[in-house]
Symmetry: C2
Subunit: 215 residues, 2 copies
Amino acid sequence: MNSSSSSPKVPIPTLERLATYLRFLIDLEASHVETISSTDVEKQTGINAAQFRKDLSYFGEFGKPGVGYNVQELQARIARILKIDQLQPIMVIGAGNLGSALIGYPGLTEHKFHIAAAFDRDPAKIGCLQGNLMILDEADVCTVNADIGARIAIICVPASAAQGVADTAILAGVKVILNFAPIILRVPERIVVRNVSFLQELAVLSYHLSSDTKK
Amino acid sequence: MNSSSSSPKVPIPTLERLATYLRFLIDLEASHVETISSTDVEKQTGINAAQFRKDLSYFGEFGKPGVGYNVQELQARIARILKIDQLQPIMVIGAGNLGSALIGYPGLTEHKFHIAAAFDRDPAKIGCLQGNLMILDEADVCTVNADIGARIAIICVPASAAQGVADTAILAGVKVILNFAPIILRVPERIVVRNVSFLQELAVLSYHLSSDTKK
């Protein structure tokens, strides 16, 4: 119900790879490369050429047989698919180290993401500048968002505070949440949440430490 | 070749969910819950009960029909599967906002992860304390790791520096890398890399912003 009715249900890994292709295409365009083949994509990104073609096939016809893909055109189309062809305001809640890292994250603007507001509940942080952004009071999320209209929230508060700020963000009009707090958020069905868990990432890596490589 | 020969190839999403179950079980144990059912898991984590049973099935028999799963036992077995049943030293390279957030990340110790050393190349940071940890010179990665024996490296340096520090970390004995830099690292086949890309996460979320919810 949240996806556009014209395209079939697209698997999340495909969307993740589209973002990788986009990142890669932006770099290529900056280097004035005009055309690429799916084999080039495989060499540069490590993603199989057949996988690349399959990922694109969800969204219609791309590229010309024997010629390849026009870099600029492909980039524009993927950006449109991912709905990042126009500036997307984002709110960050929690301006600790992680929130600060996100506010200053390079490449956001290139991808048309704009951190429009950052909030914290710590009086020592409220009113301080983080880059060009003044940290605002968490209590003002709703009133501020009536102006900026962010539909994406990034939550970087401690686990104990995360559900509360998520509820507030949704009340303020947020539709999708990137959650860094190590808890499972309870949200209405229409809201999309992605969780980034450092512990999960480390645990998956740890699994790959085979016992034979143990010191 | 890097996975243990006794178990079949386990899909990455299964490993990711195992880490979620583990997190959940640790919380349950802290609340003195002794037994759970797969339905409880579904209710609490949002992961389908059948999926939970299927994930565990890769690793043998778990739980008792009609009784459920012993929380403590299940937790210990998942920790063993993920090889986080003993303290795992980790090195962090790059002590900016993101590196600092990771060094202070709550729950690491609970999962037997131990940030044993953090490095930076900025003379202004080297020698400074971050929590209890003194930031060390990036030039000393190899000599320091001869002592601490970290096989996991977390890379939080800018994209332009990431390949260089990855090469050094591998030279120093690192087997798996959690990479936060927005580039694709080139590593020998035996090395496992997981990339965390904030841009990718945002792009996937952005896709889910259906046009009808647009202001």
